[in-house]
Each structure stands twice: as structure tokens, then as C-alpha cells.
Symmetry: D3
Subunit: 223 residues, 6 copies
């Protein structure tokens, strides 16, 4: 049952970095509003925005042994994604593990559980999106798996999927779709800049998006 | 059913601004501990403190069409207050809508749902108090209403009511009561400054508020 | 039923301060993963880290009378710990009470309820760990007790216990165990520094902690 | 501030009873999907279905004094609706109060807080829809009001409004709209019976409601 | 750290049974509104009402090994009380363990976690009050303790304390106070029967409890 | 984006029925503790226990149009599994849809949202496991998909997977693994019956499972 998959395919590094620049909200729209993790996943500090390849971890409740195993599998540019076999908000991850992960080029952690040493993590610049901040320690007794498909905070994550995370939340992009999604996201962004200027000048969305007729058709009345 | 009320009465601008200076906690006390929104309504960034006239929005779950409609109804100094017809934490509002709202003099958004682009909103100085931060997008399919009475986060808000929001939460003051509430709130504040100095010098609340006798009557024992 | 205990034993001041330097996560580990308050207890601002002797308060819902009573019992270096007789997220504590508590040398408040005036509290440097931030005021009608044993956020706190709180949460150390726990915590910390350097240099936890053999025994397979 | 309004208008008794027969889900649809209380309001036992005129109660947290006051205001056929000034799940109501309310012809209680003695209440046939079941007692120290407008579980309730409650939840119908809503609800029901038989015979909703064309227009593809 | 205490003192069997007859709500009142577990603790089926001596269990998350250890320590008339070292809603207990516990005269389980096989448990007549019903299995890897003081659902429970549980919730009575609490509870009950008859005959609580004068003093106005 | 997959593979009918007889808790154990839906998924009435092939539905919040589309795709023995694109507790499903689903041989509904008409559904014998019971109606405005992979209440469900549901919760068995899982589950059950009798006769799990030695090794002390 417990397995570590050593070789996983990753998306093109440039595509990943460009997706990260688009931001979670834009990419999520661009890929048809799919792949968002639940909104209870919050960054431990504001301002970080990352993209990377998912190294997935399936871990027992309050047991962080598999994080040690996962770190060996990290390539520079990876993001760890931890799901649990039963809900837990224990603090699986702290500054020692972050030191080790950083040494291997890891860009951050997405964890459907708890994290601790958050002041140190912020100082080190190691971003984490988690369900909880919790000093509760964990044990190393029970196996899990590394680089198997997981459901993390309601989203399906396969090893090597692209993970994007910023202040708005966390989104997963399927590896095969990455280039296509990037194109759509960049189109949205260039499109948005023009709209922003028109809106800033006072033009109404009702006019810019030509909504008035459809609102009237649906029966909106002004009184 | 779906209606936009174009003309709403607003309170005196000076009264609104003076209420905002008093702060949510003080005004809430001053008006007899009424009108507070539920404590799950949190600011997306710390330090903002606003007052304004409510432009209310009743919107379907995960559908932000009515926000576009509401923006046209904004006057400088208004605050948008969005309630949903069914609970949702989708991200109804982001930087484009904020750009448009700012262009019309809007001071902020109170939303019993989700918001996104929070880093941009902070940069723009557009404050939002919300139930969630969520990258989940919305659609524009179903009508709602603008400037009808709504229940937002447990509080009754009529169009034109005064909305106050700061780091402690969000409070609504009925338009007709505004001047009276302001007077009471200012009395509390001037009263508080004297108390603050006495307490800072080491005087006890037990003595300053003359509580000892009543505590003894109720049966408090010191051992 | 309602009682104020005036004389409580406190731990050695130096031991308390040294425990605070170790941090909540380390101390919690050092004492066998006991004494942590529930993870919903969050600091109202980031960066504070305190240690002190518990002055405990048992208060009715939405009634802060006992806080006034408790402040008289504070010694310099104390931390107030408030539990309620029935759950409440009302704002029991604000800047006036903080002014008074500070004047008596109080280091902070742990409250399984709500707090308000958080912007002022941050400005004053008075840290609070709470279940909620809420402008809702309280009354002064019903007695409670001061310096009796309480269950606060799931943890047993006796008056005079050591309270530690930082960005990771809140932990209670039994007074009798304080010196022993401090020793164990300091051992962990000196131990950690060496590990941190090895991990930073790229050594794996799998090797440093000699985990590979035990993982294989348990049946972990690499594919 | 604290007031008891003695004379409130009530809707026609037959209209109320006929609305109750339609059920909460149907009436809620019939009045345009408005007036539903939050879904956390659950019956303490299954199978009860009531309609009545709202006698509203605004009560402090964990203080049930106003329930005693409200019982005097009950007319046969009334339903008590209790909202709190600050959230509480204490047990405000038990078998003694139910005995008293039953003696005055009360049909049930809607309470955005807790209730106790639930086994006795079921035996007596006194239905309650509540946020919690909780043995926690309450006090009688602080005033509230009776028959003032309240927000209960997210819905606006005025004294004399019609309250409907069954296994699906709780709904409020504005007094002035009662007769009109009843007509719409009864139309829906007669309409539903015919549909039920067609669906039971195997006819598809897709055909019965003629949805296929609109689905195709919107772009649904079958593969 | 991990310990099983074999000999614990228990309260008088008759006192326990008589307390159980009084019910949770009454006993909780009688002992000054203390000792109630959080209201999220719900019975897996309605109608059970038990009293017994607490055999306490401190267990790791999702690990039920200590339940096997605890069963050996059960005396007829005991109730098991399980707290976890970190929150978990896994299903620690099912029909096999219940069979074993029943064979030793155990009266029920109070568990601040999950339980499964609930249909079988109901059929067997083995009542459980739990935080969750959950099919999620547990492991047997990590030690905990049996018959040590625990905090269960917010209440302090010492081994040998009296546990009362019924449809209203769960309450703990300190062993030393049992006889005294019983007397007070029985006084309340006999007192209540007379009140019930007067209320049933239509007498108002306002008159029976002579509340009118105090309400007027506090300022209640009738309009 | 919006698609209906008409032909899906289903598992052997006998295997499905035999799995259902094993029960959710046993099957979940038998397949290595995987595939459980979150414990907030509760049956609308007690005692139902079903097994069937998943017809999956991905639906917008508060929009039940896709349920009408899905019903056409049902084969006798199927179970509908509805996930939403954004969280919702609206009542997507009631007695009319149940009538239609029953006419096509559907065995039940698993819905990560709300359901209504629960009294009628119980009378009809149509079981539902849901996140909420809610009278809130839905609309038919926005497309979703039928028979695509979904994440429902934290579990990955592919069309044609086996769904098992009873009073303990809901579990998904991958179609390819069904026969193998059935064998393991049946082994567990026959195994359990013998254990049950030994435990009922008073034999301790500590002895039957030979735990004493391992407990001692881990360091458990009896005092």
C-alpha cells in the first residue's frame, strides 16, 4: 500500500513560472473554473505567490514521517502537497523541515492540516498554505505514500501537476493542460488591462460589457 | 421581483464621517448594542476604517451580476453591502470591480460572501469586509436586486443606512438615528479619555466605577 | 460559588522568561505534547511572544465584570486567562481594560471568547490570543470567579500555571514541572541548531535521523 | 430600550393553517425564494409541521427571562421566535416553559440558540426548531424585548408574521402577503400532483419541462 | 508518560443511579451549572439515559489501541470517557469493542471523536455520545493512558467521576460532591412537579416566580 | 466544457450487492482505509444501506438543472453522486426528482449539498446522504456535466465506481478493485463473527489479539 514514486513527469519550467505570474484567480478562470482548493486554505503570511510542480504526500493524522521521505524526492522548483488519510490540524511542518526543503529548492508547501514555527517560516521566506496554524507536534509511526494521486482540500492533485498559490488561494493545473491554460490566462490579463483603464476613467461595466439589454430581457426593473 | 431602486435617502455626510471617527465598538455601544454584523466578517487587510451610506445588493449564490448594476447607483461616499439569497463563499469581487467602484467614489464593500485579488485591493486602498477570501469566480446569469432591504451577516440593512467598518467589525446605524447616535458616541469617547488616564495611572476600575459594593451584594467572596 | 482567590503561588520569574524564549512549539514537545490550547486561539497581531503566570478568570457569557475584579489581583509578569461558563464570542476586553492591565504589569490576555479595539491594543503592545475579534459589548451583571481552575480552549489551567503564547498558539506548563520542562526544552533547542545546519547543507532527515531501515521494515516501497 | 408590545396584528387563522399544509419548501418557492431561516435550524424531533403567528423575543446570551415575559403575550395559535443579542447555544427552554406555553395554546418555538429536556418536549408534542440541543442553563438577569422586529437565523421576522416549520426547515411569510402566497403555493401543489404521476410513470423531466432545446442552446454536449 | 491506573475510587452505586434518574439538565443546574461537556457531543440514538463511573482514556488521533487496554479496567457500571491528544473524528469504536465492553458491564461511551457501526450499537443497546459518526478506521500504533485526568469536550474528567448522559447532553459530577449534588437535584425535581401543575393550569411564570416587580425595576415597559 | 457521458462501465451487479451487505465500515477497512467521504455526509433517515454504480453529476451552486439531465442516464441499480463547482447547501433534490429517479431504478443520492422534502423521501424509501437538509430552492440556468470524474465530500468518484452508503457514512470502491475488495471484506466479516463470540464471552481483546507484549515493549506501565 505504502509507496514512493521516484520518477514523475513535470511541466515546462517556463510555463510554470509564467502561470505563477498570472495569479490564481486569473488561471482558475482561464481553465474553466476548475481545480481550486477549498477557501479554508490560507497563507501563513501575506504576499507570497508561487508556482511549482506537485510532489504529493498522503500522510496519516498527526504523523509527519512521510514529509521526511518526500523531501528526498524534491527537485528544484517543486511544491509539496500534503493530504491526510483522516482530518488533522496538527502541526506537521516547521522550521527544520523547511530548512531541509529549501536546501533542495522547494518553493513552498500546501498542506490540508496544520503548520508551526510560522514566524521562522516567514523569516526564511518559505511560504505555506494550510488549514491551520498549530503548535501540536506529530509522530513518525505510520507509513503513507509519496507521489500518488491525492485529494487535497477538495481538489484532485496528481504528482507533477502545476500548483499555483497566492493571497487568493491555491489552484491546481493539470500538467497536460498547462501550456493551453497559460495562453488563455495571458489573454485574459492583456484583455483586463484595457478594461481596467476604461473602468478607472469612469466607464461603467454595464456599458463596457453591454449588459443593459440582457438585464432588461431578464426582467430587471428600475424604480 | 428584481428591482433597482435609484433614489435612496442618505444621511448627512458630516455625521457619517464623524461616526466613522468614533469607531465600530464605540458606536455599537452608543446605540444600545444593536446593529452589529456577525463576527465572521473580517477585513481583508488591517487598518482601514470607513463610514458611508449603504447601497445594498441582494445577489444569487456565486453570481455577481448585480454588482455591476449596483456600481451605477453609487454616489461618492457610499459603501456597497452585499447579501446572498443562499450562502456562498465564492469570490464575487476583485480588482476590476474595485477600479470601477473607486472611480465612482465608493469607500468599500461589505460582503457576506467571498472576495479575491486581495493583494491588489490592498494596494489600491479599497477595503473589504468579507466572510471569505476565495479565488472562485462567479457568473452573470441570474438577477437580484439593488437598494432593497437585506439581512447581511445577521444584521438588517436598509438602503441609505450608515455603515461603519474597522478592524473590530462592521456595524449599521439606522439613518434616522444617526445624529442621536453620534452624540452619544462622542459623549462616550470624551468620557473615555479621562478614564484612560486614571486607569493608566494605576487606579482600579473597581474603584473608578464604584463596583465593590455591588459585587459584595451579589455575594462575591475574597479568600 | 463566586470566589476570588487572592494568594496564588507563581513559578520562578527567570524560569518563566526562559521558557518563553524557547517558544510554544518547542516547550509543547518538551513536556510530552501536553497542555496546548485549541488551535482556534489566534493572536490579534503577529510577532508577540510572551510568558507569564496565569491569573484565571471564569466569566459568564457576554459579561466582563470579572475582568475588572481580576485586574486587582495581577502582579507584574502575569497573564490573564479567561474561560466562559457558556460559549461566547462577545468582545470582553478592549483598550481601557488593557490600559489598566498594563498599569499593573500584565503581559497579555488569553481569552476563549472575543476581544475588541484590536488596532489600539496592537499600538499599545498588549497582545491577546482569542477565539474571535468582535465589537459586541458585554455587561456587568453576573458574578464569576478569579483564580480558580478553569478549562480554557480545551486545556486545564490552574492559577499560577505558566502560560506561553506566540504565533504558533498557546501552551500551559504546570507550575511544579516548570524547571524540568525548561531543561528539556533547552536541550531540544541546542540539539536543533546542529540539525538545522546539517539540513541546510543538504543532508537529508532520512539519513540524519537514520530512518531508512525502519521505513523499510514497515514496508515502504520505492518504485 | 426594553419593551413588550402587547397588541400585534395576526394573519387570518385559516390562511395560516392552509399555508402550514403546503409545507415549508413549497411556500418558500411560492413567495419567490425568500424568508428562509438558515439551514442550521433543525427540529428536535422529526415529523412535526406547524404554522402560527410570530411572537418575537429578543434575548441576551444565556438569559431566558424574556421567555417568561413572552408567554403572557401568547394567543392560541402563536409560535415563539427567539433571537439573541449575541450568539449563544445555551438551553433557554425546557419542559416547564413548554408546559406553560402549551397551556396558552402555543404551537412551537423557533430559537436561534439551544433547547433542553428534548425527550420530554417530544413526549408532550411541543416542537422546537433550534440551533443546538444543550443542557446548559440560563439566568434571569438582563432585559430584552418582546414583539419587536428581530433577525432570527438570518431572516427578518416581524411580530405577527406567519411562521411555518417542518422537517425541511423554517420559513417566514410576511403577514400582508399571506393570502397571496397561499394561493401561489396551492397552485404549485395541484400542479405538482400531475407532474408526480407523469414522472412516476417514467416520463422524463427533460421532456415534461421541455428542457432539451435550451440545454442544447447553452452548449450541452452528449458523448 | 503512558500509564494505566488500575485502582480508582468510585462513587456509591445507588447515588450514581439516582443521579441518572434526575437527568443531565437538572443535575447540571443543581451543581451550579458546572461540568457540562460541549453541546457538539450528541447521542448516536435517542432515548438512552445513563449514569456511571468514569474510566478515562487519553488516546492519540485515529488510534484506538488504548480502548482495548481500558476495557480490562472496566467494572460493572462504568462509563468510558475518551479524549484525544489532538482532534480527530475517526471511528475509534464499533460493535466488536462494544461487545467486549458490554461483557464487562460497561454502560456506555463518551468520546470526543468518532464512532461507527452505529446501527449495530443501537441494536445492542450500547449508547454512545460522540463528536462524529464516521466509518474511518483507526490503528494501534501509539500509546496513550488510561485512568488519568482528561479534558473531554471542554470538561475536566477525573477517573471515578460520575458521568451522566441523556438526550440533552453529557455532564460530569465530581465524586466527592455526588451525594450533595444528588440531594440538590432531587429537591429541584420535587419542586418542579408542583410548578409544572400550576403552569399547566395556566398560571404564569411571571406570577408564580413573582417576577413582575423586578422586571419593572429593571425598566421593562409594556406598550 | 459541459458534457454528458452516456456510456459508462459498471461493476458486476452481484459484486455490488454483496459489497453493500458488508457495510461501509468493513469495506473501507478491507480496501486499506481509502475512499471514505467526509463525515459531514449524513443520511436523511436512519437504517438505509445501499450499494450501486455511480452516475456522477457536477453542478453549479444552487442550480439543479444537471439532476434532470442525469436522471435520463440512470440504469436500474445506479446511485447518483452530486458534487458542486462551489460549495452550496441549497436543496437540490426533493420528492418530484425522487419520483422520477425511482421510476428508473435509482437506489439513492449522495449529494455534497442540500436536500429537501425529507419526510416524503423517507416515506418513499428513497435514501439520501447529504451535507445539509435545506428548503432553499434551486434554479436551472447554468450547465454542469454528467458522468465526469468528480471530487465529492473529499473523495474522488469516477462514473461507474461502486458507491456504498449506510448509517456510518459513504464509501467509494474503484470499479476495477471491486471483486478483490469484496473478497477481503467478506474475509473480515467471517473473521469478525468468531471474534464477536469470544469477546461476548468475556475474553479480552488484549489477549485475543495478543497485544500485551507489544504494549509492554512500547513502554506502557500499569500502576
Amino acid at each position: 500500500m505504502s509507496v514512493v514514486v521516484r520518477n514523475i513527469a513535470r511541466a515546462d519550467a517556463q510555463v510554470i513560472d509564467d502561470l505563477a505570474k498570472c495569479g490564481v484567480a486569473t488561471v482558475h478562470e482561464a481553465q474553466g473554473r476548475m481545480g481550486l482548493l477549498a477557501s479554508y486554505m490560507r497563507p501563513i503570511y501575506r504576499g507570497a505567490a508561487i508556482g511549482g510542480s506537485a510532489v504529493t504526500i498522503l500522510a496519516p493524522p498527526a504523523d509527519n514521517w512521510m514529509l521526511h521521505v518526500a523531501i528526498e524526492q524534491l527537485h528544484p522548483g517543486d511544491v509539496m502537497v500534503l493530504a491526510t488519510t483522516s482530518p488533522s490540524d496538527a502541526g506537521y511542518f516547521g522550521d527544520l523541515l523547511a530548512t531541509s526543503a529549501l536546501a533542495r529548492g522547494c518553493r513552498g508547501l500546501i498542506i490540508d492540516a496544520g503548520v508551526r514555527d510560522v514566524k521562522d517560516l516567514e523569516k526564511m521566506g518559505f511560504p505555506v498554505w494550510s488549514k491551520a496554524i498549530c503548535a501540536q507536534g506529530t509522530i513518525k509511526e505510520t507509513l503513507g505514500s509519496v507521489n500518488v494521486p491525492v485529494v487535497c482540500a477538495g481538489a484532485n492533485v496528481d504528482p507533477g501537476d502545476i500548483i499555483l498559490a497566492d493571497d487568493d488561494g491555491v489552484c491546481v493545473v493539470k500538467r497536460a493542460a498547462a501550456a493551453d491554460v497559460l495562453k488563455k490566462a495571458q489573454d485574459r490579463l492583456s484583455n483586463e488591462e484595457a478594461k481596467r483603464q476604461r473602468l478607472a476613467s469612469g466607464e461603467l461595466g454595464l456599458d463596457m460589457y453591454k449588459m443593459r439589454e440582457r438585464l432588461a430581457e431578464k426582467g430587471l426593473r428600475y424604480v
